[in-house]
Amino acid sequence: MKIVINPIYNLFILFLTLSFTSCEKDTPEIVEEQEVITTVTIEFKAADASSQTFKWQMDQANTQTITLKTNTPYEVSIAFLDESDPGNVKVITEEVAEEADEHQIFYEFSDVTVSYTSGESDALDSNNNPVFIHSIWTASSTGTGFARAYLIHEPTTKSSTTRNGFGGETDVAIDIPITIVD
């Protein structure tokens, strides 16, 4: 028995089917970005309770300058936010504190001399290393420069004095212009 197939006809039908199949795509959902850090705020609080806040926002010119006095301790608190949806701002700092072992905040200074130590209520990792979410800064001489704030993910070591020393991946690297006066 031989099955009779008209090749041209069949081909034609198949092509027609393929070409005219309704191929409208559904409107894609907007992706909810889950771990974007859009904003970093750093609050500097002096003993007299006066405070200055530096805010780095994605897609914006960030030009504020922080003025610090020499030999004066400042309570410095850093916060990481996801403001991609203004109606639903997520505070990522909490996540950083919870996963203290996988995170490290590190400050590096250019042309200014500032030292910092862990502050009150700072998060500590399982080996009691400070994460530096809260820190105390003291500037030793006058000058103009900037501080570079890093958030390091999965550092290879938790105690170092240079960015390279920590290893890991840089999640945040922003510069804060600083003027130090007497």
């Binding site: 090749p7 069949n10 081909l11 970005e33 991609s84 200074f109 042309d111 999640d171 922003i174």
Partner: protein, 807 residues
């Protein structure tokens, strides 16, 4: 007189019974046997089919060209002798006794046919264009490796790597969408656009792999100026048989191995089924001096086929599934350019952990499934119809190192579904002319899962392609042939993509592509980019034989390619390269002219091929650094797809010399030059000059052989300077630092060895053991074509034991 009346009677009966020769009451116990031989050299023709018209009787020749019919009734029959590579023969034969009859067939290469394999004879896909191929033994050797690794042994084919396990074939300096992969007669539709997307295919399922350099294989598409890689399964024979092979690999580097097994069951009726399974598992690979953390891989593939091939008519159902999980070098996951600079400054990867089989983020998971049906039928006048339909589902997931438990959640999750339908018709006109006409259509749907929590790299889109081609070959004699082909393709791309409203305006799309805007969602803008492309491709070439083994071919190829989804829409951060990549909606189709020349000389003990080529590209799409973008991770270089005019030329060389019956020497080399003619700069990722020399000793008894191969890859001196500077803080002050991502690594030498020992070589079972040592000297080197050369060296020494059973 009496006899002739009888004969006439038989004839009449035969006619009335419409050819049914079974005459009841007669003794039907005659036999007819003989050999089918090549008209020219009297060599036996294997696989020829002899049918008796109007009956169910048929026989197929074995490897000695022998056919056999039993239980024939006396009478006159019309015998039809056919072979895919021969002109058919019809003979009227009267049977009245047991007979021996030999037939001679005009044996020729069937240029337009799909590749078929008959023992050592391979058909060419194209006539005049350059082809290189790997046979079953060579494929087996690379059983535990990737397709690109296997092809790397061919001159003119290099490998673009991302780490150890992700490898893409690079032909004449081109890869990705410019290189097509054809398996079972259909183009593989995986996410081929990505430099770090290895082809989702298991080479163990195939018997031959052929590389056509340039877009000369027009039946598979006109958009692959680099070339086409055609993978073909074993040809089925028409006899009751069970055959296959099993290969087992154990390797020291990666402390893993693979097993792959294949079985084919064929029946005299033409019916066949086959199955194939492959499993691979490796832990972390090792560079000479350290562990390459998180580079393990696992892979599991299966396929099965069911079909019937009766030479004149056949069908096939094919299902295959490929799935793998590949770890990405942990040290290659970086946050910003300062991290990249640190990695570049270090001689060893910045994260080296002890060996493990675990695969953690960053990693890739790929699954590719193909369901395919095909049918062919030969018409009376030797013309042939073939239709194929395939449905391919490709799923690709990429996992990044993320905060919290999100590393478990894919950062890229793509599903690409492709329906493809093709039909072709081949026919002959006058003795020397052959034609093929065909039509291909494709409907492709890409879905990007929004639940990744990461902006889509590639948007949801539909792609529709409709193409038609016509090919012809004129071959008046064995010394000359002329072939040509023309192809026309329409490509429609219909995407739905969210653009950052600010980006949309910044790039000037708001004015130029206002029509694409659909809905304003606040900070995001939903757009519907739609593009149509009409592409032309053409090819023509001639082959001259000068006698004494001299042959020369010239071919010209025109190809046009529509930009792919990545080139148009790409939008995202590459963690391993610390770059942001942007697509470009303004891209036009790319046009490439290529001229290839080949000169070869073949004698009994010597064979050489010299193949230079030149190609000129208009609107050549490539990615270029466009500046630094300030992000919360610091300044990032951003790269954008753009087009330029480019010039390529190069040469592939090959020589093979039998120094004595035991000793064989083989040399191959290739050089590629590629220049961006607008910027007057070299193009990136072009293979440097490389050469491989092999010497092989085969023992007198042919029981064992030993091959030593030396590969030398020069330093690439032609590269674009894509270095950039960033400000780093050193000793309390800011210092500008250059990140050198451009300078290629030094040249290197690599020594490999293969020892093969035949354990058993009988008709039913062939078994051999191979000991392969790669990088014998444990040389610590980096490869310019490995995108992870910034982070780690290539693999160190590997000792591989391979056990083969062919049955």
């Amino acid at each position: 007189m009496k006899r002739s009346v009888f004969r006439l009677l038989i004839f009449v009966v035969v006619i009335t019974l419409k050819g049914s020769p079974i005459l009841y009451g007669q003794s039907c116990n005659y036999s007819l046997k003989g050999n089918i031989l090549d008209l020219h050299d009297q060599s036996p023709i294997f696989g020829a089919l002899i049918t008796i018209e109007g009956t169910t009787f048929f026989s197929q020749t074995d490897e000695f060209g022998t056919y056999n019919f039993e239980n024939l009734c006396p009478g006159t029959y019309l015998f039809l002798i056919e072979h895919p590579q021969c002109d058919s023969l019809k003979r009227k034969i009267t049977i009245r006794q047991n007979q021996v009859l030999n037939f001679k067939l005009e044996h020729h290469i069937n240029e337009l046919e799909e590749i078929t394999v008959s023992d050592s004879k391979l058909e060419q896909i194209t006539n005049s264009a350059q082809e290189a191929r790997l046979n079953a033994d060579q494929i087996l050797e690379y059983s535990s490796k990737s397709l690109a690794d296997a092809l790397n042994t061919l001159s003119g084919v290099s490998v673009l790597r991302t780490g150890n396990s992700i490898a893409k074939p690079l032909i004449h300096g081109m890869y990705g969408s410019r290189v097509g992969i054809v398996s079972n007669g259909m183009r593989l539709r995986d996410q081929e656009w990505g430099a770090d997307h290895a082809p989702n295919i298991d080479l163990n399922a195939f018997e031959t792999i052929q590389v056509v350099k340039g877009a000369a294989a027009l039946k598979y598409g006109g958009d692959t100026p680099g070339g086409i890689i055609v993978l073909a399964p074993a040809k089925k024979v028409l006899k009751d048989s069970l055959y296959g092979n099993t290969v087992l690999n154990m390797e020291t580097n990666g402390r893993g191995g693979s097993i792959s097994s294949r079985w084919v069951k064929t029946f005299k009726s033409g019916f066949y089924y086959s199955g194939q399974l492959t499993a691979k598992r490796f832990g972390d690979f090792q560079a000479p001096n350290y562990n390459l953390t998180n580079t393990g891989l696992q892979e599991g593939n299966l396929s099965f086929k069911l079909g019937s091939n009766r030479i004149v008519e056949g069908w096939e159902f094919n299902y295959s599934r490929f799935s793998n999980e590949v770890g990405i070098l942990r040290a290659a996951h970086i946050g910003n350019i300062q991290d990249l600079a640190t990695a570049l400054a270090s001689n060893i990867p910045l994260r080296v952990n002890p060996f493990t089989y675990d695969i953690n983020a960053p990693k890739q998971q790929g699954t590719h499934q193909n369901i395919q049906i095909s049918y062919f039928s030969t018409t009376k006048n030797q013309a042939k119809w073939k239709w194929e339909y395939s449905y391919q589902i490709n799923q690709r997931k990429e996992f990044d190192v993320r905060r919290g438990t999100r590393s478990e959640l894919a950062a890229i999750d793509l599903k690409l579904q492709t329906h493809a339908l093709s039909g072709n018709y081949t026919w002959k006109k006058f003795e020397n002319w052959k034609y093929e006409w065909g039509i291909n259509s494709l409907l492709q749907d890409n879905f990007s899962n929004p639940n990744t929590g990461v902006k889509r790299l590639i948007p949801d889109h539909l792609k529709i392609e409709l193409g038609s081609y016509i090919l012809g070959v004129y071959k008046p004699n064995n010394m000359f042939s002329w072939d040509w082909g023309l192809r026309l393709d329409g490509v429609l791309i219909d995407a739905l993509k969210y653009y950052d409203e600010r980006d949309w305006i910044e790039r000037g799309y708001a004015d130029e592509f206002e029509l694409f805007e659909i809905q304003d969602m606040g900070t995001q803008l939903l757009t519907n980019p739609k593009f149509n492309f009409l592409n032309i491709a053409g090819q023509t070439g001639v082959v001259f034989g000068f006698g004494k083994g001299f042959e020369s071919n010239v071919s010209y190829i025109l190809s046009q390619r529509a930009p792919n989804a990545s080139e148009l829409f790409s939008d995202g951060l590459h963690h391993s390269l610390a770059t942001i990549e942007y697509g470009n909606l303004r891209l036009q189709k790319e046009t490439i002219h290529k001229l290839l020349l080949g000169v070869s000389k073949t004698s009994d003990s010597f064979q050489t091929t010299i193949s230079p080529y030149v190609s000129k590209a208009k609107n050549y799409i490539f990615i270029v650094p466009r500046g630094l973008e300030q992000t919360i991770r610091g300044a990032f270089p951003f790269w954008q797809y753009d087009a330029t005019n480019a010039l390529f030329f190069g040469i592939d060389l090959n020589a093979d010399l039998d120094l004595s019956p035991e000793l064989n020497f083989n040399w191959s080399a290739s050089y590629t030059y590629a220049q961006d003619l607008e910027a007057n700069l070299p193009l990136i990722s072009i293979p440097p000059f490389n050469s491989t020399q092999k010497i092989k000793y085969t023992s007198n008894s042919k029981k064992w052989d030993l091959e030593i191969a030396h590969q030398r890859v020069s330093k690439q001196l032609r590269f674009p300077d894509n270095n950039f500077k960033f400000n780093t803080i050193k000793m309390g002050t800011i210092v500008p630092e250059t990140v050198d991502i451009s300078t290629p690594p030094e040249s290197f030498n690599k020594l490999d060895m293969i020892f093969s020992l035949y354990l058993k070589r009988s008709k039913i079972l062939k078994s051999y053991l191979k000991v392969m040592i790669k990088n014998i000297t444990n040389n610590d080197y980096r490869d310019y074509l490995n995108r992870f050369r910034y982070y780690a060296a290539e693999n160190g020494r590997n000792i591989q034991l391979q056990l083969n059973f062919i049955y």
